[in-house]
């Protein structure tokens, strides 16, 4: 069977399953409370997997994911409120109209978030190391301040009146697409280049990888996908507030991918689900809920520092750069499907005079 045919069949099966599940959930056959948590998990999956592309696979430390999410959420919400409703109505106002309006809305959200990613990425990704963390943190704060002051999207009072679309199909379609996109990137030449940057940026450059270009590309894709996640959130409750996008949200997503395992897509998915479901599952403990939640996280990080499903690769790379010492490649990761052969035999050498590898 030709490859494209196989892929087409898989895609059709996935869509059919999603439509089937959507039908089941819309029909209230399952408790809406569980369905809601399930859908929130779906949104979290989109966010976590997209962040993993830049933090886990490329090894760049971004902590402004909520900012890109906010850009996507607000731009798409603005479109939906001002044009989307008309667009849907002009197309008959039925299901077809809404599907088109939502599609356009999602693309707009992803586009503007990607644009913001480009604007942030180009200057800051030329530098090496921790600068990106500071720039993205700043970006996240700036976005929140902006949103607090733009009257057209409600300012600090929040943006309400966004059409509510609680569609299991739509949320999980975006989540699946995100996973497919990131998976394909990671398993392509592009992805190998990204991983080589993570393992040793200087060596990657010496091997002919245009590191800045690859980093910016990965960053833009990651931001655009985060924007798509924001679009889902905007239409989920039909209400947005700048407070929802403060840096704590970025950290929540960061915790998801670290808990799941940096550089593991399945790990990110699992991390997103666990961190969305856990606070709800612990509701029975009342006041102790967040204490138990935090304790569980601490215990997990002590027992499995590489995350639930993480390979030790990204962690090693990070430690290596931290200590500025070349670690012995002998104890290499046993389960590291992502560690490419191109970097496995990286020669160990000290940092060239004066240049800081961090």
């Amino acid at each position: 069977m030709p490859r494209y045919l196989r892929n087409l069949i898989i895609a059709l099966v996935v869509i059919a399953v999603l439509i089937g599940l959507d039908f089941v959930f819309q029909g209230r056959m399952l408790n809406p409370y569980f369905v809601r948590i399930l859908m929130l998990s779906g949104i979290a999956i989109t966010l976590a997997v997209s962040l993993n592309l830049i933090n886990g696979f490329t090894g760049q430390f971004s902590i402004g994911h909520a900012g890109f999410m906010a850009v996507g959420a607000y731009s798409s919400a603005y479109f939906s409120v001002n044009y989307g409703v008309n667009l849907a109505n002009s197309l008959g106002g039925g299901k077809v109209g809404w599907v088109v309006a939502l599609l356009v809305s999602t693309l707009i959200g992803a586009f503007f978030a990607g644009l913001a990613g480009l604007a942030v990425g180009i200057p800051s990704l030329r530098l090496r190391g921790d600068y990106l963390a500071i720039v993205t943190l700043g970006f996240g704060q700036i976005i929140v301040v902006f949103l607090n002051n733009i009257e057209a999207v409600g300012g600090a009072r929040g943006y309400s009146g966004i059409p509510i679309v609680k569609s299991f199909f739509w949320i999980f379609l975006v989540a699946v697409l995100t996973i497919v996109i990131v998976y394909n990137i990671v398993n392509s030449a592009f992805g190998r280049a990204l991983i080589s940057i993570r393992e040793d940026e200087l060596a990657a450059e010496a091997m002919g990888v245009n590191t800045t270009r690859y980093k910016v590309m990965a960053f833009v894709i990651s931001s655009a996908l985060a924007g798509a996640g924001g679009v889902l959130l905007a239409h989920f409750d039909g209400y947005l507030n700048p407070k929802s996008f403060e840096f704590i949200k970025s950290f929540e997503i960061l915790i998801m991918i670290i808990l799941g395992g940096l550089g593991s897509i399945v790990g990110s998915v699992l991390g997103a689900i666990v961190l969305t479901v856990l606070p709800e599952a612990l509701r029975g403990f009342a006041e102790y809920r967040m204490v138990i939640y935090s304790l569980l996280l601490i215990i997990l990080m002590i027992t499995r520092p590489q995350g639930l499903l993480g390979s030790t690769g990204p962690l090693k790379a990070w430690r290596k750069r931290r200590k500025l010492t070349a670690e012995n490649a002998g104890g290499g990761p046993a389960a590291a499907p992502t560690s490419p052969s191109t970097v496995a035999t990286q020669p160990e050498r000290p940092a060239p005079g004066g240049e800081n590898l961090r």
Binding site: R157, G158, I164, G238, A281
Partner: protein
């Protein structure tokens, strides 16, 4: 493959972990969602204290029509999406009869459509954004909204203090402050006053000398400071140091025991609007204050008082309702007339917002409060902005 299997097993077990059998039995179940952790935890905790006290009182007195009240208190971590999740849980899994919450308008707005869809009445004790009750006819509010408060401040200055000119100090970055400023400016001007100067500051500023010097030059009879207590205290101190002796007037953002600790005697003779005053000599208020003190060993703040009232209003409606069905309770709630709460007599208007007097408090020596006046905003004083509804969009396929 093994990992995917592991992932699946883990997530399934997590989902099943949050199954808990819906509460049954012969009780009145009231869902309470508040911020018990996170950025506004202190507000949420005060509110829950007030609600818990109201529930304990009614249960001790035999419950509502012989049925005990069961409170289901849930924490939303000061997060809007989590607030909506909790209300979803309330209306589906817990099958509550009524809902009380939230403090912050953002969380109330996010959660309100869910209560509305499920036709379960929801009453917020302290969300002041006009948008909240526009979410549907099952959503109620038992406190005044900001535009009404602003109008009360302006009316008090123009009528009671007979001021002809005023200056405003506004926190430009703060939505609450700019919202009040707009209304005060509009109403005060309409009532024949003149705003002679507007100066801005930012939350957290320490030095207000430049703005105050400028204000002093224009000789206002009163200065409106619609901000929060920490800034207000400093502004008052520095204003008195500059020789500005006119009264300062503000809103419920001033309400804190910290206010007098920061501003001290500089605040004597200044006024602010509030939901109630713990120093009110009304026996109803004194009983509430003493009972609260006995339980929590502290003075109840305005949030505890409004939440206590909200719970009692809800219990009263449930008592009058012919059944425990959502629409029956809703109708009884809407029919609430002159309910004697500690924060004043409450009646709901056609927007399901509480109509009640606003307490104008005068700060006396030693940081004690005296109720200067109970301001009922006159129809003519109402700001136009309070009535103007923002354009609403029909929700799409749910």
């Amino acid at each position: 493959m093994k990992r995917i299997l592991l992932a699946l097993i883990l997530s399934v077990s997590l989902f099943s972990a949050c199954t808990n059998p819906g509460a049954g039995g012969d009780k009145v179940r009231v869902g309470v969602f508040m911020s018990l952790t996170g950025s506004t935890a202190n507000f949420g905790i005060s509110s829950v204290n007030g609600i818990q006290m109201a529930a304990d009182e009614i249960n001790a007195a035999g419950g509502i029509n012989g049925k005990q009240v069961e409170l289901l208190v849930q924490d939303d971590r000061s997060d809007a999406s989590e607030a909506a999740t909790i209300v979803t849980k309330f209306v589906t899994q817990d099958q509550v009869h009524a809902i009380l919450g939230e403090v912050a308008s953002s969380r109330s707005i996010a959660a309100a459509p869910i209560a509305q869809n499920a036709k379960i009445p929801m009453l917020t004790p302290s969300s002041t954004n006009p948008e909240v009750t526009k979410k549907g006819d099952f959503i109620f509010r038992s406190c005044f909204i900001d535009p009404v408060q602003g109008a009360a401040i302006a009316q008090f200055a123009a009528k009671t203090l007979n001021a002809k000119s005023a200056a405003i100090m506004v926190d430009r970055k703060n939505d609450y402050s700019t919202g009040l400023e707009k209304v005060i400016n509009e109403v005060f001007t309409r009532m024949g006053g003149k705003i002679v100067a507007v100066q801005s500051y930012q939350e957290g500023d320490q030095d207000f000398n430049a703005q105050l010097t400028s204000l002093k030059g224009s000789n206002p009879e009163v200065i409106f400071v619609p901000g929060y207590y920490n800034d207000v205290g400093l502004i008052a101190k520095q204003a008195r140091d500059k020789g500005i002796t006119v009264p300062l007037i503000g809103g419920d953002g001033w309400d804190s025991t910290q206010l007098y600790a920061i501003g001290g005697t500089a605040l004597n003779g200044s006024y602010f609007t509030n939901h109630y005053s713990p120093y009110d000599t009304d026996p109803k208020v004194q009983k509430f204050v003493n009972d609260y003190k006995a339980r929590h060993n502290s003075l109840p703040d305005a949030l505890a008082a409004t939440a206590y009232d909200a719970a009692k209003i809800m219990f009263d409606a449930i008592k009058r309702a012919p059944s425990l069905e959502g629409p029956a309770i809703r109708d009884a709630l809407a029919a609430t007339k002159e309910f004697p709460g500690v924060t004043g007599a409450v009646t709901f208007n056609e927007n399901r917002d509480a109509v009640k007097p606003i307490v104008m408090i005068e700060i006396k020596d030693g940081g004690t409060y005296a109720v200067k006046e109970r301001v009922t905003v006159e129809g003519a004083a109402l700001p136009t902005a309070a009535n103007a509804a923002p354009p609403t969009v029909a929700p799409a396929n749910e």
